[in-house]
């Protein structure tokens, strides 16, 4: 059985003007330790998928299974626990707490998690040992994203969800961040799901899931993904 499994997942957002179906019978599977890229243009339903996978929202119908656990139909509190224990988030805008140092931002996540890694170890791992006691505002964008990744990985989650992690970064920094994510997948066996509108990332992935008009357009399995250094955008 696959590590992550979506079966006929549907999600409709209701508003005064009209109902928007953001996920229309989405089904796919992801194996443990895979580097997955979910790609699609703006408004295709990527973020909805992220929300559903990350336990920030629940689907209207279908099944969502992570590591054998049904995520659909969980109560808000169970969802929170799921986010807390099983999911690591990397945001496009890093979302660091401005008033906490790099190390403290990692500690903030570790503080609420049971099987967390040592915060300072994580900081060291993302190569920010020297800047551990700096505030986010004193760090560059790439450094901030590293802190963000350290914060996500420190929880030792089952899934690492990354929402356009390079979106706010220049090419070179973005590459470094991608490398970091890639390494944590390949070296530590983390299951990484990268959500982007940028098709250039597709060669990196073990599995590419293309989303279009709220539906799965294509799922491609790549036996030999390209190295990070080889891609450009």
């Amino acid at each position: 059985m696959a590590f992550v499994q979506l079966k006929d997942v549907c999600k409709t957002y209701h508003s005064d003007a009209a109902d928007v179906r953001a996920s229309d019978h989405i089904s796919f599977e992801i194996e443990k330790g895979e580097f997955v890229v979910i790609v699609g243009p703006s408004g295709a339903g990527k973020t909805t998928l992220l929300n559903l996978l990350g336990g920030m929202d629940s689907c209207d119908s279908g099944e969502l299974i992570v590591d054998g656990q049904r995520i659909d139909g969980l109560s808000p509190r169970e969802l929170t626990r799921y986010r807390r224990e099983d999911i690591g988030f990397v945001f496009q805008f890093y979302n660091l707490v401005q008033n906490l140092t790099a190390l403290e931002n990692v500690e903030l996540a570790v503080d609420i998690c049971k099987n967390a890694a040592s915060p300072i170890e994580m900081i060291r791992k993302v190569g920010l040992e020297d800047r551990a006691n700096h505030f986010p505002a004193e760090l560059s964008g790439g450094e901030q994203q590293r802190v963000s990744i350290a914060r996500a990985l420190a929880k030792q989650p089952k899934l690492l969800l990354c929402d356009e992690p390079t979106g706010a970064l220049d090419f070179r920094t973005g590459q470094a961040i991608l490398q970091l994510l890639y390494d944590s997948c390949k070296q530590d066996g983390m299951t990484v799901i990268l959500i982007t509108h940028n098709s250039a990332f597709k060669p990196l992935a073990d599995r590419v899931i293309e989303v279009r008009d709220s539906q799965i357009h294509a799922i491609t399995r790549q036996e030999h993904p390209a190295p990070v250094a080889s891609i450009a955008w």
Binding site: T47, L50, N51, G54, M56, D57, R77, T80, R81, Y82, R83, R84, E85, I87, F89, F91, Q92, F93, N95, V97, Q98, N99, L100, T101, E104, E107, L108, A109, D111, I112, C113, F135, P136, A137, E138, R151, D163
Partner: protein, 1088 residues
Amino acid sequence: MITRIYKDTFRKLFRAKGRFVALFGIIAISSGFFAGLKVTSPNFKESAELYYQDTRLMDLHLLSNYGFCQAEVDALAQEPDVLDLYAGYSETAYLQVNAATANPIVQVYSLPEGAATDTAINQPILTAGRYPENAEECLMEVNTPESVQIGDTITIDIDDPDTSILEQTTFTVVGEVDWSMFVNYERGTTTIGNGSIDCFLMVLPDAFAPDVYTDIFLRLVDTQGMNSFTDTYRTLTRQKGDLLVERCGELSKSRGEQLIAEATDAMTDARTELDDGWAEYEDGRQTFETEIADAEALLADAKQQLDAGLVEWQDGNTKYESGLAEYEQSKATLDERKATLEAQEALANNAIAEIDGKQQYLTRVEQIVGGYRGSTLVQPYPTEIQTLIEQAAAYDSDAFSLSGSLSDFFEAPVDSAEKLRLESTIVFYVHNCSATLTDELAELERSAQDLTIHRNTLNNAYAELSNAKAYLDSSKEQLDTAKAELDQAQSEYDTGVAELETRRTDGLAELADAKAELEQAEADYTAALAEIKTLPDGIEWYALDRSDNPGWSSYGEDADRVDAVAAVFPIFFLLVAGLVCLTTMTRMVEEQRTEIGTLKALGYSTGQISVQFLIYATLASVLGVVVGTLIGFQLFPKVIFLCYKTMYDFPYVNCPFHWDYALICLAAALACTGLTSMIACQAELREVPAQLMRPKPPKQGKRILLERWNRVWSKLSFHTKVTIRNFCRYKSRVLMTMIGICGCTALLLAGFGLNRSISAIDDLQFKEIYHYDCIAFYDENAENPDALLDLVNQTSEVTAFQQALLKSDTIRANDNAYEITLTVASKPDAFSHHVTLRERKSHDPIPLTDDGIVINEKLAKLLSVQVGDTVELAGAYKPVTITAITENYTMNHAYLTPACYTDLFGALNYNSIYLNFVDGTDEDNMATHLLQNDDLLTLQFLSKSGGSFRQLVNSMQYIVLLIIVCSGLLAFVVLYNLANINITERMRELATIKVLGFYDGEVAAYIYRENILSSFLGMLCGLVTGIFFFRFVLAIAEVDAVMFSPDLPWYCFLYAALLTMFFTVLVNLLLFFKLRHIDMAGSLKAIE
């Protein structure tokens, strides 16, 4: 086009409903509170003024010691200052009520002219029934005992019928009125009964039958349209009043003439009376002299008779005494003779008896011998025989022994010769003896006859003597009677003499008195004759103005007190509210940064952009002010009026919309919202659009000072670190929260403190300081104050009393002067039974000493003096040193010992008595009992003065309660608003930690830790600030005559802290729902 963009902006602005409502709420509450409290006092005064104008209340009330005649009334009416006037009558009497309690004292007033047509000066307002139509009808009022109803017939008891001007004493109640002359429950004072008038009645003038009017009520021209609570009005009326009083001589000329005429008539009568008196005196003197002379003659006669009687009695007595001596002598001679005779007779009788005995013996011997002729006896013989033999010895002679013969005879044998011889011998001898004895007897009987003759002679002599004695006795009796009569006559005579003396003395004294009296009357007459000419100068007028109406001043003072409270609280309130508005608006502008940038980029001018914030602010301000003032203008005056309603009889309170205060509020609100937003907007707009459209760089995190101190910092928990760091990061907001909470806590603390300060006075002043039950004021010139003291002393309900002097005086120091009550206790050592003098904090008792004066704390504060300073008392020869400062809360007092007083002022005349009663004494009965004494003027019962004070305190407490409630509301709104800002500002951060998997509770705790910390710190600051604020309010709200208890007990802090904490928790609970609904997807979006 522009409107469309505004529409979009507005949509965004109003989406944050909570903020708008909070802004509106703060403005509404604070403007309502400010304006409502501010207008209360003016409303009170204006309502009163309106009532006064509607009822055409008099400006001056004139009284005269001689009353007013029609001519005077006419003269006054001609005065240019006088608008209109009416003259009337009034008299105090008792109202008969069928109740166990004392009859209430009622003041009967004549109804002003035109009352029935509602055109009168001092127009009473009919609340029920109708106006009287004839002299037998009257109007009652709200204070009239409840047992009296419309339609009832009531009777009044006149105190002194001689001076009464009331013709009618029985009335039918036909209606009930309110009268603007009396605004509270007081009805003035009088000299009858317990001294305070309970209610009034209004009757037609026809019910009175006087020569002159007793009262004149007039309105002045210049005061029309003036508010009578202003100083201008007071000064003006006082001036005009003084002027009229000064011109009394001129205005009352006709009254003077009338008085002279009346007096002259009276003098003529007096002359006649005096002459009659002299004539009567002369008559009396003559009658007296004649009477005395007659009595003297009568007594002289009696004396003569008495003397003659005495001489006569003495003669008789002498004769009697000589007779008696003679009699005694004769009696002695006779007694001697009688004794001799009796001795002789006894001898003779003895001899006869002896002879008889012997003859019987001899006869017996003969018989015995005859008997024993035939028998012989041997010794011992039978007793009789033996006796015979023994007795026979007496008869033995030389020739014959009878005893021997007898013995021989009995022993001789029977029929022997011997026996016979012996027998015959014995018989013979016996016969011989017997014969001899018979001869002796005859002899004796002859001499006995002689003796009998002697006895008869003697008896005759005795009889004669006895007759003489009887005569003597009778004459003695006569003499005694005569003597008794004489004694009687003597004593009667003596009495007569004494009586005469008394009558003479009395008569002389009486005559002398009569003469003196007449001479005095003569002198008086002469004096009066001289005085008549100056009579018009003796007319004195008194002008009373509205401030002399009972309750008028206290109404003004109460209104001022509300004003004093209104002066401080709302300002503080506004400050807090303004601060909050400021923060809110600044924040709002900052939030709209991107929009502003976009608009600017699109080419809108600065003005066009900022005007939308102005509109928003204006909308909130105008709505808030309108709603706030509309409610405040009605709520506060009405609620406060409701509190005072128990004390004052105003029929209505007028609550107009005060544009001035509404505009002030609006201006303040606009300044805090509109102006702030404009300034904030301008600051933002200084940047170029490109910069504006980019997100504002997040505020940089900062290391705080504490982090340098690694030893402590490293030991803190992660959350504590975060809290402290956040706390230091959002300094301005934290500061704002702290100031807001600090302000609210301070308001609450001051409110609670003030509430306690006011309510504590009652117990402190009337239970711990004053112990007396009553002060009885008496006439200080009373001839016999001891009678009053005796009456008090004999009243069993009185447990302690002492005389004192209580007088109003002016005390001066450091260029300040205050009216005080000066008390001189006759027994300073026992004064603590009536009033406790003590140091407020230590409760150390303060003794009254001869060294100086004791004044109360408030007075010391007003005068800025301390112990050891000197103060001057009006009328004293020299300044006096303050020896102590005593705890006291109402009115200003100074205490002196009699010695100290005499030293300062000279003579000391007591004028009052402090009285303590047994618990449960009926004060009405006590009043009636004590007022038996005519010297007693009034009784001031502590329960009454305490009662009215208590009402005042209660109404003040409502105002303070109102303040507390408003402060609480403000605290709530402020907290909510600031916490709300805190959340919206950090929405992204909160969304992020939610995504990170913080449970709802943890998210809340994350932000609450800061909220609670800042609230708590703010509260602590507030508790400290509150102390100063409390003192400040106390200093301002206090009037000169009252000291609020300056203590701030711990429970006030507790209440203020608890209430603040309660609001903090409540606000945090409300925000919890908001936190739960934070959209996590927000964390994914770009920074706005």
